[in-house]
C-alpha cells in the first residue's frame, strides 16, 4: 500500500518537474516549492542527527570533551547575525573558517593540481616496444599541455610565434578536450533519463518489465 502511494507520488512529481519543459506553470511551482522545503527540513534533521548530536552534544554531555566548546561557541556566533547590535561577532567564525580552509587546501591543491600533473606530463614519450599510437598520444599530451599553459598566460599579449600560435593551438586542445568531456557526460545524462522513463513505464504504469 505505502509502496504504491510512494510510486504514484514519485511519478506525479517526476511529471510535474518535466512539465517545465513546456513552460513554467503552477504544477512545476508546487513541485519546486515542495522539493526545496522538504530538502531543507530533511537536511536540518540529518545534520542534527549525524553531526550535532553524536559529535557535539553527546561528547559534551559525557563530560570528557570540553575542547568541543570552542567549535560550539564559534558555531553559535554565526547566529549573532540575527541580532544587529552584535552581528559583527559572526565575522570571527567566518575568518577562522576562511583561514583554515586556505591553509588546508593550499598544500593539497599544490600536490594534486600541480606536482601530480607535472609528474604525469614528465613521462618519457617513447620506450622500446611501445605501440605507435601510444607514442603519438604521449607527444600530443606533452605539446598539448605546453600549448594549453601558454593560453593561460595573462601577462603577455597573445601575439607572435610563441604566445600567438601557442595560445591558438592551446585553445584548440582545450576545446577538443571539452568536446570529448561533453560527449561522455551527455551519455551519463541519457542513462539518467532512461532510468526515469523506466520508472514511469515500469514501476508506475507496468508497461515494461
Amino acid at each position: 500500500m505505502y509502496e504504491t502511494i510512494g510510486i504514484w507520488v514519485g511519478a506525479f512529481f517526476t511529471l510535474a518537474i518535466y512539465s517545465f519543459l513546456y513552460k513554467e506553470n503552477p504544477i512545476y511551482r508546487l513541485a519546486e516549492h515542495l522539493v526545496v522545503g522538504i530538502s531543507l527540513g530533511y537536511t536540518m534533521a540529518i545534520t542534527y542527527d549525524i553531526t550535532l548530536k553524536p559529535r557535539l552534544i553527546e561528547p559534551l554531555l559525557s563530560g570528557n570533551h570540553w575542547i568541543l566548546l570552542v567549535p560550539a561557541v564559534l558555531g553559535i556566533l554565526y547566529i549573532t547575525r540575527f541580532i544587529p547590535g552584535i552581528a559583527w561577532l559572526s565575522r570571527y567564525p567566518i575568518a577562522f573558517l576562511m583561514g583554515t580552509a586556505m591553509g588546508v587546501s593550499f598544500p593539497l591543491t599544490l600536490k594534486t593540481d600541480v606536482l601530480r600533473q607535472l609528474e604525469a606530463a614528465m613521462q618519457p614519450f617513447y620506450m622500446s616496444g611501445m605501440p605507435w599510437h601510444e607514442i603519438f598520444g604521449n607527444i600530443v599530451m606533452i605539446f598539448g599541455t605546453l600549448a594549453a599553459l601558454i593560453y593561460f598566460f595573462f601577462s603577455k599579449p597573445h601575439k607572435g610565434l610563441f604566445f600567438g600560435t601557442g595560445s591558438k593551438i592551446g585553445i584548440w586542445v582545450i576545446m577538443l578536450g571539452f568536446g570529448a568531456t561533453f560527449g561522455f557526460t551527455v551519455m551519463g545524462r541519457i542513462s539518467l533519463l532512461i532510468g526515469r522513463i523506466q520508472y514511469l513505464l515500469g514501476d508506475w504504469l507496468h508497461l515494461i518489465e
Binding site: 511551482r29 559572526s90 606536482l115 601530480r116 614528465m122 614519450f125 617513447y126 595573462f154
Partner: protein, 442 residues
Amino acid sequence: MRKNWIGIPALMILLLLPALSVAQGVDENLTPVDDNLSTVVTEDSIAATLTELQPVAEEQLEEPDPGLDVSGAITVLDKDNDAGDQLLVSFELPADTEGIYAYNVYRRIAGEEGEDAWNLVEVIPADKLPEFIDGYDPDYPISPGVLYEYRIASVTVDDEEFFGSICKAEVVPEGEIYHTGKTRVLIAGGLFMFLIFYYFGKAQKGTKMYLRPIAGIQAIDEAIGRATEMGKPILYVPGLSYIEDVATIASLTILGRVAKKIAQYQTPLMVPNRDPIVYTIADEVVKQAYLEAGRPDAYDPDSVFFLTTSQFAFVAGVNGLMMREKPATNFYLGMFWAESLLLAETGSLSGAIQIAGTDAVTQLPFFITTCDYTLIGEELYAASAYLGREPKQIGAVKGQDACKAIIMGFITLALALAIIDIAAGTHTLDWVRQVITMPIVD
C-alpha cells in the same frame, strides 16, 4: 530589523537541543563498521618499530568452535608521518580458513573492562590481506600516547563470531611534527609563494604590468549595463560548493566587484546560495560593496538569500526564479556539478545574457555551449584582478604566470631528456623525475 525575530526561536532551539538529548538518553549502542574496503599497509611502516602483541593470559572470551579456526598473533606498527592517530595492524591468518567469511577487528583502550569497551574498527573480508590502517574511522579515533588492545573474530556467513586471544600492544601511537614525504610540496609551495610576493612587491612599487584582455571579463560591465537599461534584476550564483573551494573564494571576490557596480547603477541583485556559510560571506561581501559604492541605503537584505543545501532542489528553486523574475543577466561563477547545464539552459530560455566561469573541467563544456561568455579555469581566478585593476592583484597574476613558466620549463626539460635518453640509451629522465616529483607520499 526584519530578521531580528528569527534569532530568538533559533537560539531557543539551540539551547533546547541538549535538553532533548538528555531526555532521550544517550544511546551507547555501538555501530558496526560497514566499510569493507581493504586497506593496504604502506611502505611508511618500514622505519616503524615492529611489535608483536603478546596474548593476555586467561582472557579468552569465547571458546573457539573446533570447526572455525581463529587468527594468530597480531602485529602493530606505529604509522610514520601521521599525527599519532593511526596504527598499522596485521594478524596471522588461521591455519584453517574453511567457513570463514570475514574477520572482525575489535579495539579497546588497554585496561578497560567489559564487552562495551570493545569497538569494532574494521571488517576484513576473508579474501583480502589481513592488514589495515586503524584510525580512519572518525567514530573510533586513535589518540596519541594511548595503549590499545586488539582482538580478532573469525566470522561465519551467518555473522557468528569466534574470538581469538586478546592482545595488548607494547607501542603507543606517536605523531611526527614534520611529514618527510611532503618536502617537495613544501619547496614548491615556498618557491611559488616567493614568486607571487616578488611580483606583488614590484607592482606595489609602481612597475607597470600588462594584462591581456579576456572577453568574458570585459563583458561583465556590458551585462550589468544591459540589466540596468532593461530595468530587470541580475542573478549571481556563486557556485554550489563550500567556502574551502578555491572557485568559491574567487567567485565571492568577483561578487564584490560586480555588486559595487550594481550598487552604482542601482540595479536589483539576486544571489541564491546553497551553503549556509557561503551565504553568510556573500551577504557580507554585497553589503560591503554597497558601502564602498557609497550607497549603503540601497542595499536590500533580501538580495542575498539561502535556498537549500540539496543540489537539485537548489536548481529547481533557481530555475523557477529565472522563469518568474526574468533576470536580464545571469552570472554562474564558482564550482558547479551536474546542475550546470540545467541552470544555463533555463537561463538561455529566459533570454538572459549569461556569463559563466568555473574550474570544473567536466562542467565547462556545458557552460561554453549555453552561455554567452565563459571564464575557463584560471581565468576565473584572474577575473578579480582584472575587475579591480589593483596593482597588488595584478602582481599576483604575474607571479602565477611565472609559476606556469617554471612548470613549462620542467616539461620542456623532460622532453629534451627523453630525446637524449633515446639517442644515448641513458636514463636521465627517470632520475630527474625522481628528484622533482617522486615520491610524494600521502
